[in-house]
Each structure stands twice: as C-alpha cells, then as structure tokens.
C-alpha cells in the first residue's frame, strides 16, 4: 500500500535521530578520554568532525521525522475516518455508549500508532540490539552488563505491556459504569430535592464524604441496593475512571523507575570493579563507553515505557472499533401508491406502544395525534422504515417488507443540521436542485431573509433557532420531492403566523402526495383529511403480551 511509505520513512528518521543521539554521547566521551592521555599520532580531527556531523544529522532527522510523522498522521486520520464513514453507508450505530466523539477518538488513536509507539519502540529496540552487538563484537569491557540491561529492559517492556492492557480494559469498564450511573443521576435531577441524603449535604459535607467512602467500599452490595444509592448520587463518582488513568501513567513511571534503578546498579557494579573485569583493556579510554551508555540509559531507553501505555490505548481502540455494532438499513425501491397504505397490528419492536390498525389515503394530509410519549414519533419512524416494526405495512394491499423506502422522507422532531452552507443542507445529496426553488420555498415557509443560501449553518456557523431548524429540515425534505412526507411535530416552537405559512406549504404539497404529520396541536389552517388518534400506551391499555416480557 502506498500509504505505508511515509510511515516507514518516519520510522527510519526516528531511528536516525536516536542513533545519532547515542553516538554523539559515546563518541564524545571516548574522544575526551582519548584526548586526556593523548597517544602519539592521534588524529583528533576526524572524531571532532564526526561529532559535529552527528549533531547536524540528529537535528535534521529530528525535524524531518516530526514533519513526515505528522503529515502521515493527518493523512492517516483522514483515511481511516473516510473508511469508517463509507462502511457506515446505509447503516446505523446501535450503541448509545459509542458516541460519535468516541469514534473520532478511536480513529485518531488508530492513526497515530506510528508516531505514538511503533517508531519509538522499534528505534530503541534497534539501538539496544546494535549496541549489544557492537559491544560484544569489539569486546568492550562490560559488554555483559549491557546485555543484562537489554534483557532487563525487554522483560520490563513485556511486563508493563501486559499490565497496561489489563488497566486499559478495566478503564473501559469503569468508564461505561460511570456513564451509566451518572446518566441515571443527572436524568433525575428534578427530584433531587426530595432526597433526604442529598439535602443533608447542603449543610454537612463531611458526613457525606464519609458515606460515599463507605459506599464505594461495600461494592458487593446487591444490585437493587446499589441502584437505590445511584439515585441519591452517593455512589456516582468518576474516581474509578481517574484511578485507572492515573494507574496507567503510574505503571509507566514505575517501570521507568525500576529500569533506572537497574541501570544505576549496573553502573555501580562496573565502576566499583565488583565484577572483576580485570583485563588490560580496563584502563583504556574505550572502557568509558559502556558505563556512559548505562548511565544515560534511563534517558534514551526510558521513553519506551510511555509508548507502551499508548500501545495499550491503541489496542483498546481497535477493540472498540471492531465491536462497533451497526445495523444495516435496508433500502426499498419506491412503489406507486394508488389507493392506500394499510397498517395492520403495526407496532414498533422493543417499545411499549399500542398496535395500530389504520388505513391512510394515497394523498392528502394525515394527522397523527395523541399525548406526548404515546408513540407518535415512533410510529412515524416505523412507517418510514427507520425503526424495525411488527405487524404489516401494506401498499394497495401488497405488503412492504421492513426497510427504508427510498423516496419517503421523515423530518425529525429535532432536525439535524449539517455543518455547512444552507444550500448544502437543503441539497445534501448533490442533486443540483436550482437555488431559485430553494429560496422560494424558504420564503414561503417564512424563514428569515437574512439567512442566505451561502450562509454557513450548523456547528461553528450561524446558530439557528429550533423553529428555523424545523423549517430548514422541512424544506430539505420537500425539495427532495418525496412520495410520502412524514413530519414530526412541525408546529412546535413556531408562532401562530408561521404555523399558518407552514400549513399552507404542507396543504399544497398534499395535493398530489401523502403528508403524515405527528403533532399534539392541530392548527385550523391545516387541511386534515384523516386523523389518527393514538391512545396512551400503558399497562392498562397494552395487552398482556408485554407483561410477559417483563
């Protein structure tokens, strides 16, 4: 693959950077030692030149590796994300926990593997091996100690790697648990004031701290009791998550620390002559090389340990991405509707809604009404095919299998506005819809004239009010000329005058198409052809089948 080339270049440059660094140290110390005893005929010019050349090499390779590495990183992030995005064509992400932000983070982690851990780890590995090899080959005094340090380093890396993976796993669990419990806590904020325990905190925090401490100790409480305390918020704490994060850093620090200890110990062993390396070589300038390398080892080999933590995070991200569950959205070709759409025992899977039996005309405005929470918007989504449903959905008496019908459009209650120009938002598929049509329709819907088609809306753009978002989304759907238009709560957040305009647009569109509107208000201007009243779903009204699922 072409994209690995810059990655290998990064690796090579990082290697050059590392090798140049250690070489400067070794050659400089040796040079000084040689100079001190100044043997006859010693050519001092060459080492001096080599040292300066190495310095330049180090600087250049440092800059280059940084540049190439980051360039590669950005390209990789773009590639991976595009890959993930294309994979997600016509599918939905199932898990609530896997927020889009987490996905962005995971892909970044995946892309940064070269500069985060592959390059540093392999360059240190390479330097270590070659140092050991050279030391043994030329029989430097203390070569054995160098090999011993290499062995110690390898063991430390492996041990830390295993530990880091374990911690990363625990961190993921802790994170999920925190998300769940804080979700429950924050969602119930409206009834906190009824909590004695929580109210008490206003006066006395010391006792509360004590409580939470004992609560976290008694982690083996049975599920019910824990849930109860979750509501109170005593047990909700991000401590577990932080603990794992700090632990990850600590293991890296601790391993680096032990490695430093071993390196120092080896220095002492060598310098004290405890290991009798009683050779004639001992007092030659070359003898200074191995102790220097050992003494500096924590600096040039210690980086490896923080790379290991990144490796663990990388592994965790790979796993998270692999486990990402998506459901493909089945696309159905549109069928002409001659007389009617019939729903028989239609209900949304996994929701407690009543079964719907009704027949919808081929054109005109149909209004679905009912109290909030009775399943109006689920019904609309089920009709459009965005939610899996039980029961039958028939067009002119022929059953439609489950799936999204290509030319039916659902307008969400909380519409999604893409970060981009207004024109892009109105024509997301690039169907080259004439700008004239867009402005006309927006005017009819009473949208602020100051918002131009070239205005950037969405994130980091002009903020749109709830009503404006609704109308933009409605315009987007209408411009796509759907056969069936399903609109969820179009009148919420609109004043009476604007409601009127929206009604007119909807009425006109319903002349030859079917428009289904879910709303708990029905403006008089809306030419409703059929009204579907949904009853409240409750254990009293839903039949016995749901009781069995409990």
């Amino acid at each position: 693959m072409n994209s690995t080339k810059p990655a290998y270049l990064t690796l090579l440059l990082a290697l050059a950077h590392g090798v140049a660094g250690i070489s400067i140290l070794v050659i400089s110390s040796w040079f000084i030692a040689v100079s001190a005893i100044a043997p006859v005929g010693f050519n001092y010019v060459i080492p001096a030149v080599v040292i300066r050349a190495l310095a330049l090499l180090r600087i250049a390779s440092g800059y280059a590796s940084m540049w190439v590495g980051h360039n590669d990183l950005l390209a990789r992030i773009a590639n991976i994300r595009l890959g993930v995005f294309s994979q997600l064509e016509n599918s939905q992400i199932n898990e609530k926990a896997l927020t889009t932000e987490a996905l962005a983070h995971h892909t970044e982690e995946l892309a940064s593997r070269w500069i985060a851990w592959i390059a540093p780890l392999s360059s240190i590995m390479f330097i270590f091996t070659s140092l050991c090899f050279i030391a043994t080959w030329f029989d430097f005094p203390g070569a054995g100690l160098l090999i011993a340090l290499f062995v110690a380093w390898s063991i430390a890396v492996v041990l830390q790697g295993l530990e880091a993976l374990r911690i990363a796993k625990r961190a993921t669990c802790a994170n999920a648990e925190f998300r769940q419990s804080s979700n429950n806590l924050l969602n119930s904020s409206a009834i906190w004031h009824l909590n004695r325990g929580l109210e008490g905190q206003r006066e006395d925090n010391a006792t509360w701290e004590h409580n939470s401490h004992s609560a976290s100790n008694a982690s083996t409480l049975d599920g019910n009791k824990r849930k109860a305390s979750n509501i109170v918020g005593q047990n909700v704490s991000a401590k577990a998550v932080w603990k794992e994060k700090i632990a990850q850093k600590n293991t890296a620090n601790r391993t680096a620390w032990w490695f430093q200890g071993i390196a120092f110990l080896l220095v002492v062993l060598m310098m004290s002559g405890a290991l009798s390396i009683a050779q004639t070589m001992v007092f030659a300038p070359i003898a200074i090389v191995v102790p220097m390398v050992l003494l500096a080892a924590p600096d040039w080999a210690g980086n490896a340990f923080s790379s290991i933590s990144k490796f663990a995070q990388y592994k965790q991200s790979v796993k998270a991405l692999q486990q990402m569950k998506t459901t493909p959205i089945k696309m159905l070709y549109e069928r002409e509707i001659n007389t009617s759409i019939t729903l028989t025992d239609f209900s949304i899977k996994g929701r407690r809604t009543n079964k719907v039996n009704t027949s919808l005309p081929a054109k005109g405005v149909v209004c679905v009404s009912g109290a909030s929470g009775c399943g109006k918007s689920s019904l609309l989504q089920g009709l459009a095919g965005l939610l899996p449903a039980n029961g039958k959905r028939e067009i002119d008496g022929v059953n439609m299998p489950s799936g999204l019908v290509v030319n039916w459009r659902y307008v969400e209650q909380e519409p999604i506005i893409l970060s981009g120009t207004l024109a892009l938002n109105l024509d997301p598929a690039g169907k080259a819809i004439p700008h004239n049509n867009m402005t006309m329709l927006l005017q009819e819907l009473g949208l602020d004239k100051r918002i131009l088609l070239s205005t950037w809306v969405g994130k980091a753009g002009r903020p749109l009010s709830g009503g404006e978002r609704k109308r933009v989304a409605l315009a987007r759907a209408i411009l796509a000329k759907p056969r069936v238009l399903l609109v969820d709560e179009p009148f919420e957040g609109l004043d009476i005058h604007t409601q009127q305009r929206v009604c007119e647009v909807l009425n006109r569109y319903a002349n030859d198409k079917l428009v289904i509107i879910a709303s708990h208000v029905t403006p008089t201007a809306l030419a409703v052809q059929k009204n579907v009243q949904l009853d409240e779903a409750s254990i009293v009204t839903v039949n016995g089948e749901h009781r069995a699922t409990l």
Binding site: A33, Y63, A190, K227, V268, A284, A287, S419, S538, I539
Partner: protein, 585 residues
C-alpha cells in the same frame, strides 16, 4: 481563536490560584514539594556525575582502580537520585488523586445547591464530559505541566552553576551561545504554543466534521446523500491537512531549535574539552578529564527538562478549554470567599425569622440573579448591584395560599419557582421544605418502591395508600411484581401515569409547599382536566404555587401572580379571569 471567543477571560494561572485558595485543593503545596523533590533528585544525579568522572579519571589517566570513597559516593548519590525520583512519582500521583477528589466533592456540592435549575441547562453528555474530562485536564495541567515548567527553569540554572564552578570558560560560553533560559522559555512557550494550538485546532476541526456527519447518518441514508458527503468530507480533510502542514512546518522549527541547541551544545563542549585536553586550545584554566567528563554529562540537563515540557504542552491547551466550562461553575466558591469577608451580617435571614408564623414568605424587593452568583452568602437586594433576571416589588405567601402563576412561555415562570425553591440565587426563598413537580416526570429505572421512597423508607401500606390516592391502584395491580417491579429505561407508564407517580412521591413527603411547574403541559385535554382535579384535591391542605399555561378554574385559587417583562405582579381575580379568557381564544 480561543482567545477571541472570551476576550476578558482570566489567565489560566490566575484562575488556578483563585480556585486553589477558594476550594483548598492543596495545589500549591503539592506543586512545591514535587518541584523540590525532583530538583533534589536531579541534583543528586549531578553529584553522581562528579563521582563517575572521578572514577573515569582514575581508570583512564591514572591507570589505577578507584578509591573506596569515590565508589561509596557514586553509590550514595545514584541511590539518592533514584529514591527521590520514586518519591516524586508517588507525590505526583497522590497529589492528582487528592485534587480530583476534592474537585468532585465541590462539583457535587454545586449540583446539590443548584439541582435541576442547573442540570437542565445542558445535556447529560455535557455534564459527563465536564465531570470526567475537564476536571482531569485541569489537574493534569496544574500538577504536571506546571511542575515541569518550574523544573525546566530551576534545573538549567543548577546545571549552569555547576558548570561555572567547574570551568567558568565553558560556563560563560554556554551562557553566551545558548540564549539563556528565559529566552528559551519564550521560544518554547510561544513556539510550542503556536504549534500545539494549531495542531489541536486542526485535529479538533477534522474531528468535528467527522462527528457532525456521523450524527447525521440516518438522515444521510434516507436522503441517499452518503456518497456526496463522503466526497465532501474527503475534500475538506485534504484541504485542512495541506493547510495545517504548511503552518505546522514552521511551528516545528521552534521545537527543532531546542534540539539544535541541545545537540550542538554537547558536540561543541565535547570538542572544546577534547582540544583543551590535547593542548590544542588554551583558553581559561587547565582542564582535567574528570572536569571535562563532568561538564559533558551535565550539559544535556540544560535542555532536557525543557524538551519534556514541550511534550506535555497539549495539557495547557486542554486546561484552557476546561477553564471555559469550569470557571462559571466554580465561580460561586471564588465569589463566596471574597463576599464572605465583606458581608457578614445576614439581614434578610433575620427578616424572615421575625415574620409572623403563618407567613411563609414576605419579600419586598424580590430579585433573582444569574446562575453563577454567590452560593453561600444570602443575597439581599440592598447590598447587591447584580442585574436581576426577574424582580418583584413585594411577594407574600401565607400558609394555605393557592397561587396561580401565569405568563407567556419564556417569561420566567420556571425561574421564579426555582428561586423560591432555593435552586437559584435570589434575595428570598422558602425556608421550609418544598416539593417540586415538573413538566417531565422523572421515573428512575429502579423499582416502583425505589421510585417512591428514594432514600427514605415508608411502609408498604403507606405506598399502597398514596398510589391509590393518585388513582394508580389499578395500574399497580397489573404489575407483575407489584411494588418491586423494575421500571427499566422504557417504563410501562403513560405520560399521565408517570405524572401521577411523581404526585404520589410528593404526597409521601410532608412538605407543606408544592411548586407545580406546568405538570399537565404535555397531556391532551381530557387527561389534563382529570390530573388537574386530582392535584387540586390532593393538595387541599398544602400551599400551592401552580404555573400553568392551560386553563384552570379560577375558584381553585386565592391569589394570582402574573409575570410580564421581567416583573412578577399580583393581579386581581377579575383581570386574571379576563386574561385567561383571552388566552383561551
């Protein structure tokens, strides 16, 4: 870019100082001890270098084994360095854990004090990010970045002092050739700042584009717009990448400057020492191998700590982002500290205590303030020049009063109830426990019993009784496990039933005041009438303040409040019913 967003933002350091003293996080102490221990560790290492080069001198020049003293010195100094390093690691992780614990306790205090009035302003995801990430970003910066920052200043000075002591010529040379520490701080600071900020923003933008389209997946699917959007995404990221690299290439230079000086310093010092030893150069005092090696070993310390600072620079950018969110939240503590000193007598408190017994609230010059106004001092209208969100000349509530609160949506009905319930900073609030019933009833995933009891305990008879009182008896009978049926995330309740459940919850409590915030807003009319009658009947012996959009019989109420243009007014029954008639039209 971030700077433009908040022009009058405090600097991070100043804010941190205020936070530290107001919340007693112990950041300063932890910071100083960490820096001291780390410096001791590095100082021991420099001493170790001395013994190391002594031994090398013995080996290479004197051709003898070393003296025992040098070995003991080497052992001691290296051991000390190692132990101090260990202590530094321990201090660092302990300090962070402690600060985070304290921050969490404070965060929960703010939550408890402001409750729903605060939480409802943002999404759950926002609070989770704040709780989990922003607080950690702040402590990372305060206890890691700042420690490294101080070390990066002190250690080079230490190293330079040692080099001067050994050989003034080299020391002087380093001082001249290397732009000295302060200058370096600027280079690193500005350079790395620019680099990281740009890099950070680039990654952020790429990420936000990606997440934006991800969030729109179902919409894109239904519009068949995936292909087009993929192309757009690709184009945008390519564009952004080339632009970023252009900027970053320059910014990388500043990082390389450090590398340049660090490497060159070692190389030049090595060559200088070598030539001096050879006698080729004769500047300054004569040099020995021991001195030369000691200097050579010490020189890297001049810049290595600075380089480490560059590696964790992202912490600063993250902390700045965190400050934007955390500062308004924790400002209550910082203000509390300053106002506590000036404002000691609590005048409004005494006023309330001396009021006649059956009066629950008698407020003149009632004001509601911004959310991040002080948390602990009682705000009285006379001493405060804060702009009021909502005010009233006088509000009186007596026991048994039944007040209908009206006003257009967005006029501040909820605000007033929140203030009276004590969840918002205001000049007056009820001193008795209140019960809130909100638009959206809360049903927790636990059992029915847990939903009703929360952390109190009531007998099953009491629970059954209230459930029957709110007409949920039939519903209860149909539940498979009765009171122990779990409600789960999709409770088996209609909107009206859920509101009844919260009414039952309220009935269990002996609070005498009910604050009703449009409890029937989301119900269809027949449901609304039934529930309203139920509330009216059950709340017979309570003091009620009922905010409602929908029509309620005027004879249920004794007083009428109306909110208009940021002012609460008591209105007469006649004008109330007229107003009601006009809204019903």
């Amino acid at each position: 870019m971030t700077k433009e967003k908040v022009p009058n933002r405090q600097t991070l350091t100043k804010w941190c100082k205020e936070m530290d003293s107001a919340l007693s996080l112990g950041l300063r102490r932890s910071l100083i001890s960490q820096v001291a221990v780390k410096c001791l560790s590095l100082f021991s290492l420099i001493i170790g270098f001395y013994y190391f080069s002594n031994i090398a001198q013995d080996w290479v020049v004197n051709k003898t084994s070393t003296t025992r003293g040098d070995i003991v010195g080497l052992i001691c100094s290296l051991a000390l360095c190692w132990l101090f390093q260990g202590a530094f690691n321990a201090l660092s992780s302990m300090g962070k854990a402690k600060a985070l614990d304290k921050l969490e306790v404070r965060l929960k205090q703010v939550f408890v004090a402001r409750q729903h009035a605060l939480i409802r302003q943002h999404s759950v995801y926002y609070w989770q990010t704040l709780w989990l990430q922003h607080m950690q970003a702040f402590t990372d910066w305060a206890l890691e970045y700042r420690v490294q920052q101080m070390i990066a200043v002190i250690v080079p000075l230490l190293a330079l002092a040692v080099i001067f002591y050994v050989n003034p010529v080299i020391g002087f040379g380093l001082l001249l050739t290397l732009p000295v520490v302060p200058l370096f701080m600027i280079i690193v600071g500005k350079g790395a700042a620019a680099l990281h900020r740009k890099h950070f923003i680039a990654l952020e933008r790429l990420g936000s584009l990606f997440t934006d389209r991800l969030a729109a997946l179902p919409m894109l699917a239904s519009f068949q717009a995936h292909q087009k959007q993929t192309d757009l995404l690709k184009q945008a990221s390519d564009n952004l990448n080339t632009r970023t690299m252009k900027v970053v290439s320059v910014a990388f230079l500043s990082n390389s400057v450090l590398d340049f000086f660090a490497t060159l310093a070692v190389a030049l010092v090595a060559v200088f020492i070598g030539f001096s030893l050879l006698g080729e150069l004769d500047i300054g005092p004569a040099i020995t191998l021991q001195q030369g090696l000691w200097v050579l070993l010490t020189v890297p310390l001049l810049l290595s700590e600075m380089k480490k600072l560059g590696q964790i620079y992202h912490q600063k950018a993250q902390a700045e982002a965190a400050q934007d969110e955390l500062a308004p939240l924790f400002s209550v503590y910082i203000q509390a500290q300053t106002t506590m000193l000036s404002d000691t007598k609590e005048n409004s408190h005494s006023e309330r205590i001396n009021a006649p017994r059956e009066s629950l609230l008698s407020a003149s010059h009632f004001n509601i303030f911004e959310m991040n106004a002080s948390l602990f001092t009682s705000l009285s209208s006379s001493t405060n020049e804060l702009p009021a969100l909502l005010s009233a000349d006088s509000l009186n509530v007596f026991k048994g009063d039944r007040i209908l609160l009206s006003g257009a949506s967005g006029s501040g009905k909820t605000l007033l109830l929140e203030a009276l319930g004590g969840q918002r900073p205001a000049s007056h609030k009820f001193n008795e426990p209140v019960v809130w019933i909100t638009q959206h009833p809360v049903v927790t995933p636990g059992s029915v019993r847990e939903n009703l009891c929360l952390d109190d305990s009531y007998t099953d008879e009491a629970l059954n009784e209230v459930l029957h009182a709110v007409e949920l008896g039939q519903w209860l009978a149909l539940l498979p496990y009765g009171l122990d049926t779990l409600m789960t995330d999709y409770p088996l309740l209609s909107g009206g039933e859920a509101q009844r459940l919260s009414l039952a919850r309220a009935l269990l409590r002996d609070a005498g005041i009910w604050l009703l915030d449009e409890p029937t807003a989301h119900l269809p009319d027949p449901q609304h009438h039934r529930l309203a009658q139920l509330i009216n009947r059950l709340g017979d012996n309570k003091t009620l303040i009922w905010a409602s959009h929908k029509a309620l019989p005027a004879n249920w109420f004794t007083h009428f409040w109306a909110i208009k243009d940021g002012e609460v007014k008591t209105v007469s029954i006649a004008s109330q019913s007229k107003e009601q008639a006009s809204t019903n039209e």
